[in-house]
């Protein structure tokens, strides 16, 4: 079985200050478009026209890609927990209202109150 040597590229091959290629710029535009559909708390508020280098592009790409994943994960959280919370809160609120309101009293409409005054 032949073992073939694969040379390592030189250290100088890496250049985060390289101007961002047209491909990376397009990737940034597409991510920026996707970012606009995310909830506000997940947006990066980055002015993408200021991105010039590959390093700057890489940072933005990472932020938005991770934001998309995070937003989807949050949205996929089981809703049954939320329903239970809301139900529990409604029950507690209802009990509090019952304790503070006099027996038999209810909220009257304004027309009924005017009638009673007459």
């Amino acid at each position: 079985m032949t073992l073939i040597h694969v040379p390592q590229p030189p250290k100088s091959a890496k250049n985060p200050n390289r101007p961002a290629s047209s491909l990376l710029k397009v990737q940034i535009e597409h991510l920026h478009n996707a970012e606009k559909r995310l909830p506000l708390r997940h947006r990066t508020n980055t002015y993408i026209n200021a991105i010039r280098t590959e390093g700057e592009a890489a940072e933005y790409i990472r932020e938005v890609t991770e934001a998309i994943h995070k937003a989807h994960k949050e949205a996929a959280t089981p809703r049954s927990l939320d329903v239970r919370k809301r139900t529990k809160m409604a029950v507690v609120t209802g009990k509090r209202r019952a304790r503070t309101r006099p027996s038999g009293a209810g909220k009257q409409s304004s027309s009924r109150r005017r009638e009673q005054k007459k």
């Binding site: 073992l3 073939i4 390592q8 590229p9 597409h30 991510l31 790409i61 994943h69």
Partner: protein, 409 residues
């Protein structure tokens, strides 16, 4: 049934960036005359009409600056040599002229004709010689990355020939959706390098189905554990960056990224599969490039079945509309499997629509709806049915090879 097809459980596609067939594999004509690479008769005129011949002087980095233009109008010039008449003929004589337009430097423009020697690309050339190399795999359209990659995911680019936002039009589903919604359900994944590199398929897949995606590290893990999905698409690293594990060099080979980094990445994908014996025996790996990157190739892209979309004259930027009835420039492509005979050379015509065509036919059989381009595309794996055409079956060996090369990555 051929045992290679009987054993096949996984199809893996690795799509690299922006290099032509002659540029990467042209040197192999001298090793195997059946490989349609570079000869001494090939040439392109420069802007003084002097003929420029291909030369084995390609460098790993720093040579093709600026990035050669590979958008639709430039590729039109490269293919038709500047002829815009109604009955024009494709001549592949416009590459040097096209590259001259970017820097106005005659000597520099000739570098678009340079190609790599076999020694410079030990991984790609070894895989091409050891397994199956495609003499006629073309980009799906004579244009840039996003639309060409769309053909690999959807079998169409939905009428786009540019890099603008590409929205999926029903009813053509991605290959991933088809597999995941099949009965019985199939598995599919896209592996991007990491979140800093991300994917090029953002508008439809990442934005709406991020759960489809995994990372390169997950790919390696899935290979080790034997949990690779039925079909997966692997994207290289698109940018230089730092990560938790250290410096990450772009490995997509898009100019001006280092070509050697891409060689290592290809070798790592190959070895990840090979190191798991049961995975190696049951996987077919297709290595292909999305488009030629504006770099010289001598083979005229053929006409093809038109897609149902038309790109307007405004969208093409050439003053002519495009009916998706001609393929893009030729790209390197090879199929790797221990069931492929050494030195297989394939002369049938393929493009990236062949990817969803093949994967769909293999895992789902008859399926519709599909785009006209995908329906008309050839498949690189024969369906494992009663009568497999031996002339078309690339996984044709009756026993698995034990002499496949390994790389020290």
């Amino acid at each position: 049934m051929p045992p290679g097809l009987d054993n096949l459980k996984h199809i893996v596609v690795l799509m690299m960036e922006n290099r032509s067939f002659d540029h990467m594999l042209g040197s192999l004509k001298a090793v195997d005359a059946r490989i349609d690479g570079v000869t001494g008769q090939l040439a392109n005129p420069d802007t003084t009409s002097a003929l420029v011949r291909p030369q084995p002087l390609a460098e790993f980095q720093g040579q093709l600056d600026p990035d050669p233009d590979h958008h639709f109008p430039a590729v039109d010039l490269q293919i038709f040599g500047g002829d815009t008449s109604g009955n024009r003929v494709a001549t592949m004589q416009g590459f040097v002229k096209s590259y001259f337009n970017q820097r106005r430097d005659i000597e520099h423009s000739k570098k678009i004709m340079y190609y790599f020697t076999q020694k410079q690309l030990p991984v790609l050339t070894s895989l091409a010689l050891e397994f199956s190399v495609f003499n006629r795999w073309f980009a799906s359209i004579p244009g840039p990355t996003i639309c060409n990659r769309a053909f690999a995911h959807y079998g169409t680019s939905f009428g786009r020939v540019d890099m603008n936002l590409l929205y999926v039009n029903e009813p053509f589903k991605s290959i991933y959706d088809r597999l995941l919604s099949a009965t019985p359900k199939r598995t599919a994944k896209l592996y991007y390098y990491d979140t800093t590199s991300s994917t090029m398929e953002i508008t439809n897949l990442l934005q709406h189905q991020p759960e489809l995606f995994g990372t390169y590290q997950q790919f390696l893990q899935d290979c080790r554990r034997g949990t690779l999905p039925d079909y997966c698409f692997v994207e290289p690293n698109y940018n230089d960056h730092d990560s938790d594990v250290g410096e990450e060099l772009a490995s997509d080979q898009h100019p001006d990224h280092n070509v050697q980094a891409g060689e290592r990445f290809i070798a790592q994908i190959y070895m990840a599969i090979k190191r798991n014996p049961s995975l190696w025996a049951s996987t077919a790996l297709l290595i292909v490039y999305d488009e030629h990157g504006g770099i010289y190739d001598h083979v005229v892209p053929p006409e093809c079945i038109p897609d149902m979309f038309t790109a307007s004259a405004n969208d093409t930027g050439t003053g002519k509309e495009f009916r998706f009835d001609r393929l893009g420039v030729r790209v390197p492509a090879m199929l790797v499997s221990p069931w492929v005979p050494k030195g297989t050379v394939v002369n049938r015509t393929f493009d990236h629509a062949s990817i969803p065509a093949t994967v769909t036919k293999w895992f789902l059989g008859d399926y519709s709806p599909r785009s006209p381009r995908e329906s008309g595309a050839d498949v690189f794996l024969e369906p494992n049915v009663q009568s497999v055409d031996p002339a078309r079956n690339l996984l044709s060996l009756s026993t698995m090879r034990t002499d496949c090369p390994e790389f020290d990555v």
